[in-house]
């Protein structure tokens, strides 16, 4: 031996496996910390409160709503009264009840379509960002195709083809038209992360590309993915309302979009029933705003290096 250290000791051969002393970070702790980061942002807190309000409204609709959504035995086109706070529709339904029941559809479509289009965006964006050469060019072409076609006309065309599918159809339409932007954002972040040393190091560790993309790169862009989820959910809520307002959905279900559709059909504004248009419109706007506000807080989540930067 020429150096003072003796790195290989006899004991090396005899190390027995024992339980690790410190457990690796529990996913719940990570989640709690993330939630804490979002909560600490004022705007995001407001967004969360609004979102929680609508979610609770949707879940407890059967308890809160004074009447059923399609109960139509009341006076037609009545103004606001103690029995019907927001009046009734031309078909004789209670507007407030419809508003409360309608939250279910909007939130359901927003979350499901948002999650699905984010999932597509993650799968496409990450593999696109990691591959080079011909395949990347092909994906690039397809994504550009989706980006360059104006969203609403495409939606209308697809919806017209799939007509009569109800909520499921609307979700499919929103996902088809909504994933491309997220995929492009995630791709550029993947490209920047793939040049980091730890990704090269994973190649040296013999990792397969699939694992590198989803175990090394993906966890490092959680905040971006969460952000793109909220963005996609916002777009989905607006698209759902838009399609139904145009009468492209199933107009027999009760949602904020169909409420607008029927209000427009019955010339609610001309008859002075502004609440019929105003209330669902405000709800859509508030729900979309809440998700956008939450996104401000999501920006604050980052990797541990940045979090630790405060302490140093």
């Amino acid at each position: 031996m020429t150096t003072t250290r003796q790195p290989m000791r006899d004991a090396t051969q005899d190390i027995r496996t024992v339980q690790p002393t410190g457990a690796p970070p529990n996913p719940w702790q990570v989640f709690a910390r993330t939630a804490g980061t979002i909560w600490s942002n004022g705007k995001a807190r407001l967004g969360l409160i609004i979102l929680a309000f609508f979610v609770l409204l949707a879940i407890f609709a059967p308890l809160i709503a004074p009447y059923g959504a399609t109960e139509n035995g009341f006076d037609r086109s009545a103004d606001a009264s103690p029995e019907h706070w927001l009046g009734t529709t031309a078909a004789g339904e209670d507007v407030l009840s419809q508003l409360i029941w309608g939250a279910q559809i909007s939130i359901f479509v927003g979350l499901v379509a948002g999650a699905l289009s984010t999932l597509v965006a993650v799968l496409v964006g990450l593999s696109w960002g990691y591959t080079r050469g011909f395949i990347a060019d092909v994906i690039n072409f397809i994504v550009n195709l989706f980006l360059v076609i104006p969203g609403l006309p495409l939606m209308i065309v697809i919806a017209a083809y799939l007509s009569g599918g109800g909520i499921g159809m609307i979700i499919v339409v929103v996902v088809i038209t909504g994933w491309a932007w997220g995929a492009r954002v995630l791709r550029s972040q993947t490209q920047s992360l793939r040049s980091r040393d730890f990704v090269t190091a994973a190649v040296f560790s013999g990792e397969r590309p699939f694992r590198i993309v989803f175990r090394e790169i993906l966890p490092n862009m959680t905040s971006l993915i969460v952000g793109s989820f909220f963005g996609a959910a916002t777009a989905a809520i607006l698209a759902e309302a838009g399609l139904e307002f145009l009468g492209l959905g199933d107009s027999s279900i009760v949602s904020w979009g169909t409420m607008l559709f029927w209000a427009q059909n019955s010339n609610a504004l001309l008859t002075g029933q502004w609440a019929l248009l105003f209330a669902p419109g405000l709800c859509i706007a508030l729900l979309a705003t809440s998700l956008t506000l939450i996104n401000f807080g999501v920006d604050g989540i980052s990797n541990p290096r940045l979090r630790e930067g405060k302490q140093r």
């Binding site: 410190g22 690796p24 980091r196 190091a201 990792e207 541990p304 302490q311």
Partner: protein
């Protein structure tokens, strides 16, 4: 002489919720007018925190919780932000490590000077251009750079611009915070020369903050040594060098040596010459673990022939970049070869080519019967089970979200047949091998809970996981503190001698090359300009470039101040 800056029992805390870290503890010192003082400390010693406080730039979470900083008798803490801004003219100026990145990329250099002149109004408008030209000439740049954009200038030129910008306010005190650390070795040397000359011609007081005692001793008249937030020694440069009082200073000094000397010894390292005659192959004594070294006998060399790598031109109309130009060499089993050169010499490109991260333009790399140049992605595992890499930056080379155990388990599972408990035992063995004990505790840590030196050990452990024949170490210690370097180098040396691993050691630091390698190759712009036995080459360099590199090694015993 009169006192310019008086710092009395300053304490600075980092306050983060309930978590209070004392970065600077009860520090007092003073600077005389016209003095050049160095402030030395390793990372985390609080030297930059102190520098920022002197310039009145402390911002949360750093809080000055005690003491005062008097500049010309005025307490900096008592100034309002507006007074502080006015005081920048003729007060304290600061040059940052990343100062070269502080220039706005879409504005010309001239506009940067104009902004300052406009903000302070200390120069008449018709003299702005003349004054700007005068300032860039002071930092040894032609007046034509004024019309360039920052992106068109090299790192060294941009750092010179940021010094000129700081000078434009005629400061009494200039604080240089690691002004040359982010620059290439050869450029570092030239920029330090300019700083020293400027200080003498302009007569400002200078405080040079650096982690490198060598750089500081070369330039400063007086040196403050900082350790754990306290100033442990405050003495003239000569007496620090000849009779250091504090143990910490002595420890720092012991890590400097002249790579040209006949005998080079660092703590933990004897001179290689003393070990001469001992065949390397015998080094592999203790088998590291059960999966053996049996195949050590049929270890294969890496043979590189006429290797050339050409990159496409960076901008349209420019010439293509020849990064590596017809390089040939052989890395024999158990050999340690140094590849040295300044940045842009192509040394890291060679590492990428050998590890198949990049493909050569022409020439061949063979490892046994494996033709590395034509390897496809799917075959990488065959190469990487034998050739592994230690990265330069331990902060970037570990995924911040994975525990040490996960990071080490992956190569074990991928390259060996070990699974479950056996794989875990192997991971713990690796941690033991690189000296991270207690192993159980380290296995559960996340990278941000480790120090730089500990991280680099994890990186080395990962490289060892596949039981490789060759380790390519790309500047493995350049990001580490001086006191940690010796430990990592000793580890690499041990591993090579005991496991019989051959090593390609890529560096610009000739001292460490002298310590851990047998043979050396000096690269300049992709070409090999000199090669041979490390000690011979460094003692009798033949090529001018090698001499330049040797001159740029900070040497405390060579003062540049007349």
């Amino acid at each position: 002489m009169t006192t310019l800056l008086d710092v009395t029992s300053v304490t600075i805390d980092y306050i983060n919720g309930d978590d209070v870290t004392h970065a600077v503890r009860d520090v007092s010192f003073s600077l005389e007018k016209g003095e050049f003082v160095g402030l030395v400390g390793e990372s985390g010693s609080g030297k930059s925190t102190l520098g920022f406080a002197i310039a009145g730039l402390s911002k949360p979470p750093a809080h000055v919780t005690g003491g005062q900083v008097l500049l010309d008798g005025v307490d900096i803490a008592s100034l309002s932000p507006e007074q502080l801004r006015e005081q920048r003219h003729g007060g304290v100026a600061m040059v940052l490590q990343s100062g070269m990145n502080a220039l706005n990329p879409v504005r010309t250099i001239r506009n940067h000077f104009r902004d300052i002149f406009e903000a302070h109004g200390h120069i008449e408008k018709d003299r702005w251009d003349a004054r700007a030209a005068e300032l860039v000439q002071k930092v040894k740049l032609p007046a034509t750079v004024l019309d360039r954009y920052p992106g068109e200038l090299s790192g060294g030129m941009r750092q010179r611009i940021s010094i000129a910008l700081a000078l434009s306010l005629e400061p009494k005190l200039m604080v240089f915070d690691e002004p040359t650390t982010a620059l290439d070795v050869l450029v570092q040397h030239a920029v330090m020369d300019t700083i020293i000359e400027l200080q003498q011609s302009e007569g400002f007081t200078a405080l040079l903050i650096s982690h490198d005692l060598g750089v500081v001793l070369e330039s400063a008249q007086r040196v403050l040594v900082m350790h754990d937030g306290e100033i442990v020694e405050d003495a003239p440069a000569q007496s620090i060098l000849n009779s250091p009082q504090d143990d910490y200073t002595r420890m720092l000094l012991s890590h400097y040596a002249d790579p040209r000397a006949d005998v080079v010894e660092l703590p933990g390292f004897e001179d290689r010459g003393k070990r001469a005659g001992k065949p390397r192959a015998e080094g592999a004594v203790h088998p590291p673990s059960v999966h053996g070294r049996e195949r050590r006998s049929d270890q294969k060399p890496i043979v590189v022939e006429n290797l050339t790598k050409v990159y496409p031109p960076p901008r349209r109309g420019e010439a293509e970049v020849v990064a590596v130009d017809h390089v040939s060499f052989t890395l024999d089993p158990g050999e340690s070869l140094a590849l040295v050169g300044a940045s842009g010499s192509g040394k890291s490109t060679i590492a990428k080519l050998i590890t198949a991260v990049e493909k050569p333009t022409s020439g061949s790399i063979r490892f046994g019967d494996l033709d590395v140049g034509s390897l496809r992605r799917g075959q990488f595992r065959r190469l990487h089970s034998e050739v592994q890499m230690v990265f330069q930056d331990p902060y970037a080379a570990l995924n911040p979200l994975h525990t040490v155990e996960y990071t080490l388990t992956r190569p074990v599972v991928n390259f060996t047949k070990l699974r479950g408990r056996d794989a875990r035992r192997r991971v713990l063995e690796l941690l033991e091998t690189v000296g991270l004990t207690p192993v159980e505790e380290f296995a559960a840590k996340l990278p941000h809970q480790l120090s730089g030196g500990q991280r680099q050990r994890v990186v080395i452990a990962r490289a060892l996981a596949s039981d490789p024949q060759v380790i390519i170490a790309d500047e493995p210690v350049s990001m580490l503190d001086v006191s940690l370097r010796a430990g990592v180098l000793a580890l690499l040396e041990d591993l090579r001698e005991q496991w019989g691993v051959s090593m390609l050691y890529i560096t610009h630091d000739l001292l460490s090359a002298r310590i851990v390698t047998d043979n050396i190759m000096v690269l300049n712009q992709g070409r090999v300009v000199e090669r041979g036995d490390t000690a011979d080459v460094l003692r009798n360099p033949q090529d001018d470039y090698t001499v330049q590199l040797l001159d740029s090694v900070p040497n405390p015993r060579r003062s540049r101040v007349a």
